[in-house]
């Protein structure tokens, strides 16, 4: 494979899990709830998917389990911040620790276990197109699904009636309530759905990307997802692009290392975070409040 093809393929492989998680987080934050516990939801999904796959032999059952596990964990966050009015950042961080602990605890019998991984399904004909074929049409089902999902979520957020409701709640629960909506229900749904997608992201790692389980498998990808959401300005399509950039950086690093080119991988690893800060700064300079208005409250200590 050529350098470009390897990096592009790698970008998609490494970027998919983060893409699921950041798409989910886009939905949650659009409802005005930031969930710093994405990492925990990803881990929950990764382990639940792994266990169910190991026990049933079907990675598809695993995918369902991952979706449910991520969503359930996120519901804890929704309960605390929506119903109990707790601080979102503190609750989110605690959620990360909960996910970390729960998966370490329940996952210990599965370390070094073998599962039937979610295998790649090359699309007949298309995957044989030179260059594009292997990059785009030789992946596992979760990877195929994430791109239409990003498009669908974009449509959902910006074009559908429910999307208007979601954004309204994220801007102002008071106004949404006055318009006759039930902000709490919508926020619960958004946070749970966000967590469920993070769970799928985790499953993509444990069932396809590495197809193994180890403690702390996701290794900070949840936080990258949170950063990407801001980088993407709460737009699902831009989140997709951001995740691909991240995946590209990971793949580039691997390829450069394999070819013995001396770029410090650590400096490359900083770039997604620095880029996000620069984007935030640029928005702030333009005098625009980039955040969904409801999120602002969180950061002024009144959320």
């Amino acid at each position: 494979m050529s350098f470009v093809t390897s990096v592009s393929t790698g970008a998609i492989r490494a970027g998919t899990s983060v893409m699921y998680a950041s798409l989910g987080e886009v939905i949650a934050q659009r409802a005005g709830i930031i969930n710093l516990g994405v990492e925990g939801c990803m881990l929950a999904g990764a382990l639940a998917g792994y266990i169910v796959t190991a026990e049933t032999g079907s990675p598809y059952a695993g995918i369902v389990a991952a979706f449910v596990a991520g969503g359930l964990l996120a519901t804890v966050h929704a309960f605390l911040v929506v119903t109990r009015g707790a601080n979102q950042l503190a609750s989110g961080l605690a959620l990360m620790f909960l996910g970390l602990g729960l998966t370490a605890f329940f996952g210990r019998p599965y370390v070094n276990d073998q599962i039937t991984p979610l295998r790649d399904y090359p699309v007949p004909m298309l995957s044989e197109i030179p260059y594009f074929g292997p990059v785009l049409f030789d992946h596992d089902p979760l990877t195929y699904a994430v791109f239409p999902l990003a498009g669908a979520l974009w449509w959902f957020v910006f074009r559908s009636r429910w999307g208007v409701m979601l954004r309204a709640v994220g801007e102002s629960t008071e106004s949404a309530f006055a318009a006759g909506l039930h902000p709490a229900r919508i926020q619960y749904a958004a946070v749970a759905f966000g967590g469920a997608l993070a769970g799928l992201g985790g499953a993509q790692i444990s069932l396809a990307y590495t197809a193994t389980w180890v403690e702390n498998l996701t290794n900070g990808r949840g936080f990258i997802a949170v950063a990407l959401v801001i980088f993407a300005m709460w737009n699902p399509l831009r989140a997709m692009a951001g995740a691909l950039l991240f995946g590209g950086a990971v793949a580039l690093q691997l390829q450069l290392q394999a070819r013995g080119v001396g770029v410090s991988p650590f400096l490359l690893d900083m770039t997604p975070y620095l880029l996000t800060i620069i984007v935030l700064l640029a928005w702030a300079q333009r005098g625009q409040d980039a955040f969904p208005a409801g999120l602002n409250k969180v950061f002024r200590g009144t959320g």
Binding site: F79, R84, S264, L281, Q285, R300
Partner: protein
């Protein structure tokens, strides 16, 4: 509110907010009880005996002198990292960047020790200053972004954590790698004169004094000085502070930098007290646990002390689970998270409309 109301004059609590001691204690107790109950259910689900587990954790942490000393060892990073969150919190800033400030403090201290060429007796003070400066400068980036650039400090400080970790990795895998050691990502070992003296038990270093000084200073400054009063005004209502002539931006900047410096000192204490060299992964989520401890303690000195001790005990108990029951050490993260959830859920918070 413009409705004509009757004026109430009641003999109230003494002014200048006396500490409300009992409430937090009761809340702490109930929360811990609830969290342990849920934790036990989790353990039972897996067929692990919760009584054995809790017993083991108790024995390993508070039950023995060795354990109690180990709790004090953990109190150093937890307490300092919680202070690093609480100081900015009192002026209304959210510092999620303790982890990164810890790393940069450790890096700066290591640099000062290994590369300054200073004589032995000067090393510890030098490392302390370097650690504080490093952590403070790292937080200073966040403060500048906030005060001059209008960038939210919670997000930028969180993002800079990951940058800091990679920054340290770059040095220990690259320029600072120990030339004489095996090919591991370690800096050279510090000379003995750079190591903090042990003041209690076998492993409790002088840094425990830093924690005590920090907590007492925070209490005294907030309660008895004009700076503390003005800081509380800034935290309570920045608009009112500005309109009564308090330089709000200066307070925001200083509080963030002081918070960063404290986290930097925690990093310095880790490398000069425990590790003896700079290496990757020196913080086991200390910055985040500090954040949770600060929230648990309500950003007040006494609360922070209790919360940091509690998390310290849980953390030490966790280490024993690994040896005694072959459970992963991070099992106790479940308990920490549950305690925080219980406290957060039990507090009287503003609930959203229609919730």
């Amino acid at each position: 509110m413009t409705i004509a109301e009757t004026v109430r004059t009641r003999i109230g609590a003494p002014a200048f907010g006396g500490p409300q001691l009992l409430g937090p204690f009761v809340r702490f107790g109930l929360a811990i009880g609830a969290a342990i109950a849920v934790f036990s259910v989790v353990l039972l689900l897996d067929g692990t005996n919760p009584l054995d587990t809790v017993q083991l954790m108790w024995d390993a942490s508070v039950g023995t002198e060795f354990g109690r000393n180990e709790v004090l060892v953990k109190l150093i990073p937890f307490g300092l990292c919680a202070l690093a969150v609480a100081v900015p919190a009192r002026v209304g800033l959210i510092n999620v960047g303790g982890e990164g400030q810890f790393y940069i403090g450790a890096w700066a201290a290591a640099g000062a020790i290994l590369y300054s060429g200073a004589p032995g007796p000067a090393l510890i003070p030098l490392a302390l200053v370097a650690g504080a400066l490093g952590g403070g400068a790292w937080a200073g980036i966040v403060a500048l972004l906030r005060v001059k650039g209008g960038v939210n400090e919670a997000i930028s400080s969180l993002l800079l954590n990951f940058v800091a970790i990679q920054f340290v990795n770059y040095f220990v895998y690259g320029p600072w790698k120990d030339p004489s050691g095996p090919n591991w990502p370690f800096s050279a070992k510090f000379p003995g004169s750079a190591m903090l003296p042990v003041v209690w038990g076998d492993r409790v270093t002088l840094a425990i004094v830093f924690v005590a000084v920090g907590l007492v200073a925070m209490f005294l400054v907030l309660r008895y000085t004009r700076i503390g009063y003005e800081a509380r005004v800034v935290g309570g209502n920045p608009l009112a502070a500005e309109r009564s002539g308090i330089p709000v931006a200066r307070y925001l900047f200083l509080a963030m930098v002081v918070g960063g410096a404290i986290a930097g000192i925690a990093g310095m204490a880790e490398v000069t007290g425990i590790q003896g060299r700079l290496r990757p992964g020196i913080s086991v989520n200390y910055g985040y646990i500090g954040f949770l401890a600060a929230w648990l303690g309500g950003h007040r000195p006494l609360g922070i002390l209790l919360a940091a001790l509690l998390f310290g005990a849980i953390s030490v108990g966790g280490d024993s689970l690994q040896l005694g029951l072959d459970l992963p050490g991070s099992t106790v993260n479940i308990l920490m998270a549950l305690i925080l959830f219980a406290v957060l859920a039990g507090r009287k918070n503003r609930t959203g409309v229609g919730a």
